[in-house]
Symmetry: C2
Subunit: 491 residues, 2 copies
């Protein structure tokens, strides 16, 4: 197949969109801002879900399911939450349609108007904390460590496949604790779980940190986040974990009796990652030839393509390859044997390159005679000839090597594009130019943050956990500062 | 814990509701008709999902995700579908809220009215077939074998936890085929997959059959179903699989070029099961002591409870049980060791009985000395003393035995409550009395079907695949008939 991909250098944004569509990950639907996730894209998302779900369970969480709809009045209960969330929402006002009297189709039945409108959940803190009130009486009922996999809707004006869609899929953890300390530990733990997932499975290095006050989740006292750097020098927020203090417990009157017999409000966290990670995955590794997928998340890790002339040769190859496929499968390698006779090998090679299949074996009659396979590697686009009796070891070795190589390459890109800047002219030039992560001193005020954003479009991605205290002067106001924070333009 | 369950004999319906709530499966939410699925209930649903998902993949299907919202006009396109589905729906009319001018809270922003209303999907045929139009050009693009796990909303007037809720979770398969024959085979295959799942995992025997015309899915040419019999003699439709003919292809103009170069409409199927299966599971096996779960779907298959006095004894037991737990886990048994010191053994026994944990080991100091365990079995409520070196074999044996015993017991109940009836007086008395499955001749007309339903509340559950052709006379009209069909009152 011919790929006709826009190159990254030409137009990074168009390259991304082309790739998501041509690699069959997702496409736009008939509903504004909502996407259709196609089988190949969904298979990658399933792998992400499965790994994350296991990590959540290993840290003591259980899954639950709360309603899609939230009564409108719930949003008014937590003051800062309403400002942040209850605005661009899908609102259900009626519950019945009827045939139009003039026969022109179906219309909303005006007699079936809801007394109170229902909001399609943009996030579920309100309905969950309204429920937790019934579940928590005593310190013995705590902690509640629950998560749900769900769809949510935020009425976005400008949407992009995976990165920003009106409906998206995500998981949202909502935990309840007896002490402030325990809740903070939970919020931090989940940030580390997200970082671990991003680095081990997505091969995507991230910077862990906390958000500045103005970038915090609506209703949170602290927002922890992981930030990744895309190939075009823009940052992408890949996951957030919030310490919510007692804000939602207060709003929904969730109290418990402590060990000492006192009544206290419960402490809360919430944390989530979404199908946005799919966009991050694409933009971290892929190239002008198509997707590059880390083996840990590739639905197909190895494809085998027969090179043959005529049915007879194909039969011989089929018989030879079948046991190979079964052996790989037993070893836990997800393998596909593509012996379609409707497409030529070159077409197939292109297709699997586009789809980011990590390894490809090509095998023809001559290979059979010589006892070798041609093994191609997607990230480096290199080929090697491997002896038949070494093929299993080599495949396992390369899958591991590739997982690591992708991470190392992404980490090098991140390191190369993280620079310290001490004056505003250089800051502006950097953001305007190559972009990347810019570590600069900040005076800690929302005013400075807003001015910088207005003038450069860069935002504070996070106050990194890893940076040391260091005396300096705010890059914008010149006021004293004790720590550098991470600036970037962001998705 | 004290259970205070209503008994089945007293009030079956109340017993069911009590049990679902007390066993922590689900509860009603603040949103009318929508439920909260609690961790224990969700863990069972996850086990169902996982088994079904594997069965779908083994039969060649892939997962996808289509939007939650469907443009209103889509429903008018398939004539019979609109009558069946586009009525009791949640309708999104606006996409923004704002602060009320009088400061009283938040209100719908009337300036943010959608040009065309969006319907929260009650089922996804319309949006999926609108998309398939873009995916199918040639016979080479077929078949499409896709499934999605999703939430759907049908505005039900009377709701019951799991059995009938406004929002529910389900999977919906939507396949596209080049020939009628292939589509029929697919629809039949999925009915068999559902039956296999019900019998092997849920230990729930089902009757496979086709629906009468009036009970068919809106837009289907044939609806295949599996029907189960609950303990109270009422039937429950546990899964349906529809052969949709070319109806949706015609409505959404989905044509393909055949091998011979002709343009033809594509053939369709759709099939689904939902969280309703949770209700079926509860009502098939559970008793007046609580849930009874088949081992194949029990989140915890074995619980171990220490019997001790004082911390010293507990320490000894802990040290003894820990390796046991690890050994069971390695063998694939999901096991829980409940050494909470806040609750007495009797409380714990009650709790695990209520939650339907298949097996329970109690172990005290005397057992340690004698080298035995007390092993209790949930379905029969029997106990036995097992020698320590035989415990692993015995547990595995009992788990298997119990899975089979539950099926056998349910099958016996179904067989005992399936009777042939040849006259209408007996028919009415049977339906009015014990209920159960009633096999009777029917003249094949919708009028007779409707009259029987009106007079007895019994409906034709299905035209069973398994019943033989047999000459007879319609139990209602006396007209000739060649086959008995299955009547019952149903959930």
């Amino acid at each position: 197949m011919s790929k006709n991909l826009t190159s990254r250098a030409e137009d990074y944004s168009k390259w991304y969109n082309d790739l998501v569509i041509k690699a069959d990950l997702a496409e736009n639907s008939a509903v504004r801002g909502c996407m259709v996730i196609k089988p190949y894209g969904y298979a990658i998302w399933e792998k992400m879900q499965s790994a994350l779900d296991q990590m959540f369970k290993d840290t003591g969480h259980e899954n639950v399911y709360f309603p899609l709809f939230i009564p409108k009045s719930f949003f008014s209960k937590e003051a800062s939450h309403v400002t942040g969330f209850a605005k661009e929402c899908a609102v259900v006002t009626h519950y019945r349609l009827k045939n139009a009297e003039d026969g022109s189709g179906i219309v909303v039945d005006e007699t079936a108007k809801l007394e109170e409108e229902l909001i399609v959940r943009p996030t579920s803190e309100t309905i969950i904390w309204d429920t937790y009130r019934k579940w928590v009486q005593s310190y013995r009922d705590l902690p509640l460590l629950y998560n749900q996999w769900a769809n949510v809707v935020r009425w976005e004006m400008r949407t992009r496949l995976f990165l920003r869609t009106t409906e998206f899929l995500w998981q949202e953890g909502h935990t309840a604790h007896a002490t402030k300390q325990e809740a903070i530990e939970e919020a931090e733990r989940m940030m580390h779980v997200y970082a671990d997932f991003a680095e081990r499975f997505m091969a995507m290095p991230v910077i862990k940190g906390t958000k500045s006050e103005s970038e915090r989740f609506a209703g949170a006292e602290e927002t922890y986040c992981i930030e990744a750097l895309m190939q075009d020098g823009k940052a992408l927020q890949a996951g957030t974990s919030h310490f919510l203090g007692q804000n939602f417990a207060r709003a929904f009157d969730v109290k418990f009796t402590t060990r000492e017999g006192q009544q206290e409000f419960v402490w809360a966290t919430s944390w989530g990652v979404s199908t946005r990670l799919m966009g991050a995955l694409v933009m971290t590794h892929s190239d002008d030839h198509g997707l590059v997928l880390p083996p840990a998340l590739a639905p197909t890790q190895l494809v085998i393509v027969p090179i043959y002339k005529g049915e007879e040769q194909l039969k011989v190859l089929d018989a030879h390859v079948q046991p190979l496929v079964e052996a790989f499968r037993k070893q836990g390698v997800s393998v596909k044997y593509d012996n379609r006779d409707t497409h030529k090998p070159g077409f197939k090679f292109n297709e699997y390159e586009l789809k980011g299949v990590p390894l490809r074996i090509a095998v023809g009659e001559r290979d059979l005679k010589e006892g070798t396979y041609e093994l191609a590697r997607r990230d480096t686009l290199t080929k090697e000839s491997v002896k038949a009796d070494e093929i299993f070891d080599r495949v396992h070795q390369l899958l591991e090597e590739m997982q690591k190589a992708l991470f190392d390459r992404a980490l090098k890109h991140q390191t190369d594009h993280t620079i310290k800047v001490d004056d505003y002219e250089t800051f502006k030039a950097q953001i305007e130019g190559d972009g990347g992560f810019v570590l600069a001193h900040w005076d800690g005020t929302a005013e400075t943050e807003a001015s910088i954003q207005e003038e450069t479009k860069a935002t504070i991605r996070c106050i990194p956990l890893s940076t040391e205290e260091e005396d300096g002067f705010c890059v914008y106001s010149g006021k004293p500062s004790t720590k550098r924070v991470l600036f970037a333009k962001a998705y």
